[in-house]
């Protein structure tokens, strides 16, 4: 079974402000994009499980025009926003890891 990280041409995360992280997953063609969107394993519930957050806090937005999917979640590290005590990733640039090995069924 292919993994999300294999099918994506770009998979990246970044802060969307100090309290949210947004993950962009882009595909080189419509087939890969469609395959991921239609996969039974690619769900908001699965994202929530992997980031230890509630499903209602996960926004998944498909961007057909550029064969991309955006996932926006609350920031997981820091006591109060990016760069606060206990943060691990101030820019949020390495937070896509939990999704890379997601199997696309």
């Amino acid at each position: 079974m292919p993994k999300l990280g294999d099918l994506a041409s770009v998979i990246r995360s970044k802060n969307a402000g100090p309290f949210q992280v947004t993950i962009d997953i882009m595909f080189a063609n419509a087939a890969d994009y469609r395959r991921v969107l239609d996969a039974s394993t690619f769900t908001a519930a699965e994202v929530a499980r992997r980031y230890h957050i509630a499903e209602r806090d996960v926004a998944v937005i498909a961007f057909e025009r550029v064969h991309a999917v955006k996932i926006t979640i609350p920031r997981r590290w820091g006591t109060r926003g990016s760069g606060s005590a206990g943060d691990r990733d101030v820019y949020g640039a390495q937070q896509h890891g939990p999704l890379v090995d997601l199997e696309i069924a």
Partner: protein, 453 residues
């Protein structure tokens, strides 16, 4: 209204550098505006809290000088938004010092518009009491204490104060914390162009040539505003824009790729069409502007939470690596035992991170592979630097010699790369505000200060 308005974005962040040939190509096209974004919240709350810039003053000077000189000598309006990174008074002053220095060196004279973005605490208290404040998504609700303890509070300036500066004859505008879009959209909106197209173009331009291939936040981009569409083109000959690269950039750092929320309204890019015009240029049309009933200004605040001390060391012994949690539990208890009551009362935090194991993702790390070695970061945060350094010192020595079940390497648990091992990290801040405030008059909140140089 002129046929078109040409705008040059110097780069995505003043101080990151750009290619001088790109700027020269931009100037040769006789632009109506040169702009530059200079700030962000990306690097965390320290810069707003402390008033320091992310980049060194020398970097600001290096980037600002050729652009400012070219703009003034060619009589092209020049705008810098989010000056000094966070836009608070000390940030803005730091940027203005560089501007004045360049003007002295180059004997430049012009009308300067300065737009401070500091928001008085009283204004925020009143807005909170009136129910005019709401948190941004995932941000906590605001309390009076959050406002009270903030070192600095700024608001993101929208297009109107920039327009006011132009109306007052400003040839150069240096503004505090700004909506990235205001820097580039104010002039076209003032000249009567469609706000939806102007804001969408500005959103693309604020990162410099980041929307190009190869992408580069550290290079210039040309935006051309027209009646019913706009064009974007990288100013380096070898760089191109494609419909995909420009459309994809619209989603960068945005929670929602289709809706751009600005103080005065929302831009809906769902029906935007991106077409290749020539080798380098993309044409964009169809973005729609929906004005909002209420003017909402985004507030950012930072408060000091203490000072940091840290050390970094390696563990290579497999028994140490297998017992990190047990060791750290013992270290935490030992530090607490060794501190006097007063220090315990002042409060402190002790954090451990394990690079090579789960330093970036913590409990979210899915790999579960046993590493051969681990980089251990020990961090102490306390109200004073002295206490943070003291807590770290206790934790470091305790970690080095901590006994645990099955220990065989009894001489020491850590490999320190440095002598001295401990570092002072200085003040630690956090975002006290990241909220929207309903505002009646943006020009009253961000009045322009005119100055003749």
């Amino acid at each position: 209204m002129t046929d078109e308005l040409r705008i040059v974005a110097v780069n995505g962040m003043l101080g990151y550098g750009y290619e001088l040939a790109s700027l020269e190509a931009g100037i040769a096209a006789k632009p109506h505006l040169i702009g530059c974004d200079s700030g962000s919240t990306d690097a965390g709350p320290y810069y707003l809290g402390s008033g320091n810039a992310l980049v060194r003053t020398d970097q600001i000077y290096r980037d600002l000088k050729p652009a400012l000189v070219a703009a003034v000598k060619n009589d092209i309006p020049f705008v810098v938004g989010s000056a000094g990174f966070a836009g608070a008074k000390p940030n803005l002053e730091l940027a203005l010092e560089v501007v004045h220095r360049i003007c002295r060196e180059e004997d430049l004279h012009f009308k300067l518009g300065v737009i401070p973005s500091d928001v008085e605490k009283k204004v925020v208290f009143d807005a909170l009491a009136a129910g005019d404040i709401q948190p941004m998504p995932s941000a906590p609700c605001l309390t009076r204490e959050d406002i009270e303890h903030s070192a600095h509070i700024v608001g993101q300036i929208g297009t109107e104060p920039y327009i006011s500066a132009f109306e007052q004859g400003a040839q150069v505008v240096i503004a505090g914390r700004s909506c990235d879009t205001a820097i580039y959209a104010a002039l076209p909106i003032w000249r009567g162009y469609d706000p939806g197209l102007a804001l969408h173009m500005a959103k693309i331009m604020e990162c410099g040539a980041q929307c190009g291939i190869p992408l580069a936040p550290n290079d210039c981009l040309m935006g051309t505003m027209r009646n019913d569409h706009f064009l974007v083109r990288p100013l380096a000959e070898y760089r191109v824009c494609t419909p995909e690269s420009v459309a994809a950039h619209t989603m960068y750092e945005q929670g929602n790729p289709f809706l751009l929320y600005e103080p005065e309204g929302v831009v809906d890019t769902r029906d935007a069409e991106f077409t290749q015009l020539d080798r380098q240029t993309v044409r964009v049309a169809g973005s729609k502007y929906m004005p909002s009933e209420k003017l909402m200004i985004k507030l950012e605040g930072a408060r000091r939470v203490g000072a940091r001390a840290f050390t970094i060391a390696g563990a290579r012994d497999r028994h140490v690596i297998a017992n990190l949690d047990a060791i750290e539990e013992a270290v935490t208890a030992a530090v607490r035992r060794n501190l006097n009551a007063q220090a315990r009362e002042e409060g402190y935090q002790l954090h451990f991170r394990h690079y090579g194991k789960d330093g970036v993702l913590g409990e979210l790390e899915p790999s579960g592979v046993a590493p051969a070695e681990v980089g251990i970061l020990i961090e102490a945060i306390a109200p004073t630097q002295a206490l943070a350094s003291y807590v770290l010192s206790l934790a470091r020595s305790s970690y080095l010699h901590c006994p645990f079940t099955g220990r065989k390497a009894t001489a020491g648990n850590l490999a320190f790369p440095f002598s001295p091992s401990d570092f002072e990290g200085g003040d630690v801040y956090e975002f006290s505000l990241y909220h929207l405030m309903r505002v009646k008059d943006q020009n009253a909140l961000f009045p322009v200060e005119m100055e003749t140089i």
